[in-house]
């Protein structure tokens, strides 16, 4: 479907080599390298302040990195931009902005529209059907400040989905959402995966990692480990990632992990 993927049939969706980011003098992300396999759901895990959001933003060129390289489907981010979708942390925008849910979702099409051209019927229909997919069709005309936190999250998700990207970055899509919304989002992620897309999700709830994700990245300033969930999501590596802040509770003979 995509010309680019024919050119680089074997190129990984995301390859990060030696990326280092510093806001002031001290590095908050240091020499991180990893490769994401295609068609997987990947969790990015680490304590608060570990640099997860920073790593995502640096990958997308939203904050400058002081060293390292990022390659997306074998090319630079600039060239592959249209194949990347990003769901930022919800707090990053002014929710009192005069716009409604449908309009926010349509913003996901702006990259395809190009300059000056306004979104038309096609964009509207696409946005509407995507809102339906995330269970928000009834709220299409609602001013965005009148949506609950979980609903706002769904709108952001819908905006990323209409981008029709191949590689998605999501910063804490489950923050502050209830179980029903979480299930709905997970179902969507499953659909994306089935369609061969790759999704990198910043995730905090360690108890659901094994259930939801195929692949994990453990980050605490440096990359502690990266790999398939079965071999990487282990108590030893988690201990290394979270330090003393992690309590490992054993119940019913099965190990449960509780992050602080």
């Amino acid at each position: 479907m995509n010309k680019q993927s024919e050119q680089h049939p074997s190129a990984a969706p995301l390859k990060v080599s030696g990326i280092t980011v510093a806001y002031q003098k001290k590095a908050v992300v240091e020499n991180v390298s990893f490769t994401l396999p295609e068609g997987r759901l990947v969790a990015l895990i680490g304590p608060n302040g570990a640099g997860k959001s920073t790593l995502l933003k640096a990958t997308l060129g939203l904050v400058p990195s002081i060293a390292g390289e990022v390659s997306i489907y074998g090319d630079t981010y600039k060239k592959m931009r249209s194949r990347v979708g990003y769901v930022p942390q919800r707090e990053s925008v002014d929710w009192d902005f005069p716009t409604d849910a449908l309009d926010v979702v349509m913003m996901g099409r702006y990259g395809h529209l190009g300059w000056i051209k306004r979104p038309g019927r096609r964009e509207k229909e696409l946005a509407m059907s995507t809102l339906e997919k995330v269970g928000m069709a009834d709220f299409a005309q609602r001013q965005i400040s009148q949506l609950s936190g979980g609903q706002q999250q769904r709108v952001f998700l819908a905006r990323a989905l209409v981008q029709e990207a191949d590689l998605y970055f999501m910063d804490e899509p489950f923050a502050g959402v209830d179980a029903a919304t979480e299930k709905a989002i997970i179902a969507l992620l499953g659909e994306l995966k089935a369609a061969g897309k790759t999704v990198l999700v910043v995730h905090h709830d360690l108890s659901t990692v094994e259930e939801y994700f195929d692949h994990v990245l453990l980050l605490n300033k440096k990359l502690i480990a990266a790999g398939p969930t079965e071999t990487t999501f282990t108590p030893e590596l988690l201990h290394e990632t979270y330090g003393g802040k992690l309590a490992i509770v054993s119940s019913n003979g099965r190990e449960a992990l509780v992050g602080e």
Binding site: R81, F97, P98, T99, L113, I116, R118, Q163
Partner: protein, 314 residues
């Protein structure tokens, strides 16, 4: 009253001035909506105050009073001021709002010194430059009105063509950058348009108050709608009404400056919006709350009555 309106309209000169100020208000209101939504309201004020030394230098170099020349002076001074603000907030720990406060007052101080100097020099006393503090629309000539018209058309055209892009960088600049929009370039374009609006409005409204024409109509418009295109339309309308009233009332008598009247009109519109706008206005909110309360009390009462009667309508 009617006589006055008719006499306003029959004098061709006044008619031009009225038209110019209306268009100026329209353009400023539209472009100011983005400034308002980006929470950069103080920026408009900084640009306006910074324009004074620019206008003075333009006069000293050209020795003539020409709106287009002043426009260039104000534009350059505004850009210098913005560069100062970003330099201060980048290289020091001072936050942008404080940096704007510093730059705004500094530029205005220099401007006032220059203005006093010009007033006391020979050619200056006739310059009428002091009118630039509070604006004197009546002093405009046809050429000035043409400049105002051109500027307003430019502002409205830019806002229409780049509507989608301006909306996105105002709402979510991070996402805009993510999909490949040149956010920095667009921000600078918007800044230059704002500067142009301010510079064009100086003669009519004056450096001290011209920022109000950017912000107050936008703030009022926000009460009437939750949709951006409608908000731009309302802001343009409110700006146009303010500009027209300012020009009309100030032509009534010699010496009434246009700026304060314009700002009073804009503020009046804002107050009306705040109180009476449907939906977001205070009165509508109070009414809605009361209706809800009464409604709830009624259903609760009937519920209680039914319970007391020991029966229910199945």
């Amino acid at each position: 009253m009617l006589d006055w309106l008719i006499s306003l309209w029959s004098d061709p000169n006044t008619r031009w001035i009225l038209l110019g100020c209306t268009l100026l208000g329209l353009g400023s209101g539209v472009i100011g909506s983005f400034t308002f939504l980006r929470r950069e309201s103080l920026l408009g004020d900084t640009l306006a105050h910074a324009a004074l030394p620019g206008v003075c230098i333009a006069f000293m170099l050209g020795e003539v009073k020409s709106v287009s020349l002043f426009l260039i002076g104000a534009l350059l001074a505004g850009i210098a001021a913005v560069l100062c603000v970003s330099a201060i907030s980048r290289w020091t720990r001072i936050k942008p709002d404080a940096a704007m406060g510093i730059v705004l007052t500094f530029f205005f101080g220099i401007g006032t010194v220059m203005l006093t100097h010009i007033q006391h020099s020979g050619s200056g006393s006739q310059s009428g430059l002091d009118k630039y503090l509070f604006g004197q629309a009546a002093a405009m000539v046809t050429g000035d009105v043409y400049t105002l018209m051109g500027v307003s058309v430019l502002l409205i055209l830019a806002a229409m063509l780049l509507f989608k892009e301006f909306k996105l960088i105002s709402f979510d600049p991070g996402f805009a950058r993510g999909i490949g929009l040149p956010v920095g370039l667009l921000e600078h374009t918007m800044l230059i348009l704002t500067t142009v609006a301010v510079a064009a409005g100086i003669q009519a409204v004056g450096v001290v108050l011209v920022a109000a024409l950017l912000i107050t109509p936008a703030a009022a418009a926000r009460y009437w709608t939750d949709r951006l295109p409608a908000m731009l339309a309302f802001a343009g309308l409110f700006g146009a009404i303010s500009g027209a009233s300012g020009a009309a009332i100030s032509t009534l008598g010699e010496g009434i400056p246009t700026g304060p009247v314009t700002v009073l009109a804009a503020t009046l519109l804002f107050a009306v919006s705040l109180l009476f706008a449907p939906g977001r206005g205070l009165a509508a909110k109070a009414l809605r709350h009361r209706a809800l309360k009464a409604d709830y009390a009624r259903t609760a009462n009937t519920g209680a009555l039914e319970a007391a009667e020991g029966g229910s309508r199945k």
